[in-house]
């Protein structure tokens, strides 16, 4: 049995287009009582996990790049969307509401297929699966992040805006220097949640062949017939990444915290 997986020829760190997924059926094993089977196969399972670990950890770098990229894109789009939805012209507000409804109402998988197989081909745009993954996750995240910021903006007392205006600030300045800096601080808990959602959603990009953790686990599993241990290992890596990221954001929250200033209503 071949045990050294490693990327097959031609597959880069970021994509594994050389295979179709979903074509693998569960491998039948002779029938032995389940508990014994786990124990009996324990040693080979452990070896399989240890062998695949470096390869999976490489995948976690890809996952992190996708997640951070999507969060950044979502932030860059989400913050102005939120400001527009709270302070904008009624027509703009309606447009943003439709945008949010659209990107929150359709599954990620459908968007991935639509962009990668549909739009990219139709408009002859040559994007890698990796780039499409970041763009699609980022667009969806922008809809969610805009609602996080919107809630934060609405929870600020109205007097903040009034005081800024009374100093002679234009609305644009008041929003960028007074409202957003406060709203962003209040948004950190929401962000931490968004991070863990993106992290989990990034596993779906495996459907396009992005070589993230899940894709690699499946790749190795179909070659070593060690499905359960490898998915288990992938799950543990995700748990660790969630934990580390949430911890990091909590530190950020701690550092950005203003003494005596407690977020209300979030």
């Amino acid at each position: 049995m071949e045990r050294k997986p490693g990327p097959v020829g031609g597959a880069s760190l970021f994509s594994m287009k050389d295979r179709e997924y979903g074509d693998t059926m569960p491998q039948k094993c002779p029938h032995i009582p389940h508990v014994f089977k786990v124990i009996e196969r324990m040693p080979e399972s452990l070896i399989a996990i240890m062998d695949a670990l470096p390869y999976l950890l490489q995948g976690s770098m890809v996952t992190l790049v996708v997640v951070v990229g999507a969060m950044g894109l979502g932030f860059a789009l989400g913050a102005p969307l939120a400001a527009g939805q709270v302070y904008g012209h009624p027509a703009l507000r309606r447009f943003i509401a439709v945008y949010v409804w659209f990107f929150r109402g359709i599954p990620l998988l459908v968007f991935l297929f639509l962009f990668y197989f549909g739009l990219c081909t139709a408009f002859d745009i040559n994007l890698s699966a990796f780039a499409v993954a970041i763009i699609v996750l980022g667009l969806i995240s922008s809809a969610y992040q805009s609602q996080i910021f919107r809630g934060a903006i609405l929870s600020l007392p109205e007097g903040q805006f009034k005081a800024a205006r009374a100093l002679g600030m234009s609305d644009f300045k008041a929003i960028s220097f007074i409202i957003l800096p406060q709203a962003l601080r209040l948004s950190i808990p929401g962000w931490s949640n968004e991070y863990s959602i993106l992290l989990k959603d990034s596993a779906v990009t495996y459907a396009l062949g992005v070589a993230e953790i899940m894709a690699r686990a499946h790749f190795v599993a179909t070659r070593t017939y060690q499905h359960l241990p490898l998915y288990f290992a992938a799950g543990v890596i995700f748990l660790v990444l969630t934990w580390v990221g949430t911890k990091g954001l909590r530190l950020l929250e701690e550092r950005a915290r203003i003494p005596g200033y407690s977020p209300k209503g979030l």
Binding site: A166, L167, M169, K173, G260
Partner: protein, 252 residues
């Protein structure tokens, strides 16, 4: 007679069917301290906010230094607001900035001054209200009286020609009112033009150049403190003054 520094003519405002202001007019001379008194809901806050166009009046015109203010022009409006300082009942300090940054941000972001220069000026203003040693604190770390003094410093840093004060001490504990009054008194002695809504008539009668009594969106009576408090013509004014004297103690 010198020309008035601020002139307000026929300001009206309605919310839905309710007329909150029914044509208020007055002139303010340089160095005046005009005090607005009147029962709750009379429209004092609304009038002050209309003067700064934080609430857009439905009707009425305003002149500052004989220049009519065209508040529909965004640029004119921002320029006008720099010259009119506003102090709020609930302070409205920017919660994410320290006392120093609160005072500095208007100079940096609105006037376009350099950070260092603005910082020096901010320290000066904080010193003037007696808060130099608290300048690195965040609003939540300051007492109510300190917050209100920071907000006065913030307004002063913009070099306003007129200050609007909306019940600056009504959210404060009685023992903190004095420190804010001292700052305001000091401002008045230095010739600042102010319009102030307050229920503190002891303070009002000792300092005001004119008292304006409002009720139900109208200016009912106006005059020197002595006239309003001791020889008011209008029965409603007399009634209100005697009630408020009972509530807020002796006038000084």
């Amino acid at each position: 007679m010198t020309a008035p520094i601020l002139r307000i003519e026929n300001i009206s405002k309605r919310y839905g069917k309710k007329d909150v202001l029914k044509g208020a007019s007055f002139d303010v001379l340089k160095g005046d301290l005009k005090i607005l008194i009147g029962p709750s809901g009379a429209g004092k806050s609304t009038l002050l906010q209309c003067i700064n166009f934080l609430v857009k009046p439905d009707e009425g015109r305003i002149w500052l230094d004989e220049q009519e203010v065209h508040y529909a022009h965004k640029r004119d409006l921002c320029a006008y607001r720099q010259k009119v300082g506003m102090i709020f009942q609930d302070f409205n300090l920017f919660d994410h900035l320290t006392a120093l940054e609160n005072v500095r941000i208007g100079m940096v972001r609105v006037k376009g001054m350099g950070k260092a220069e603005a910082g020096e000026r901010a320290v000066m203003e904080l010193e003037r209200v007696g808060l130099r040693e608290h300048m690195q604190k965040y609003p939540a770390q300051l007492s109510g009286g300190q917050k209100q003094r920071v907000s006065i410093a913030r307004a002063l840093a913009m070099d306003p020609k007129v200050m609007l004060l909306d019940e600056p001490t009504s959210a404060l504990d009685p023992e903190l009112i004095g420190e804010v009054h001292a700052v305001i008194r000091d401002l008045g002695n230095n010739g600042m033009t102010m319009i102030m809504a307050t229920h503190q008539i002891g303070f009002a009668s000792s300092l005001a150049s004119e008292i304006v009594f409002m009720e139900d969106g109208r200016i009912l009576e106006r005059g020197t403190p002595d006239k309003i408090f001791n020889h008011a013509e209008n029965a409603r004014t007399r009634e209100f003054c005697s009630k408020i004297t009972e509530l807020y103690g002796e006038r000084g």
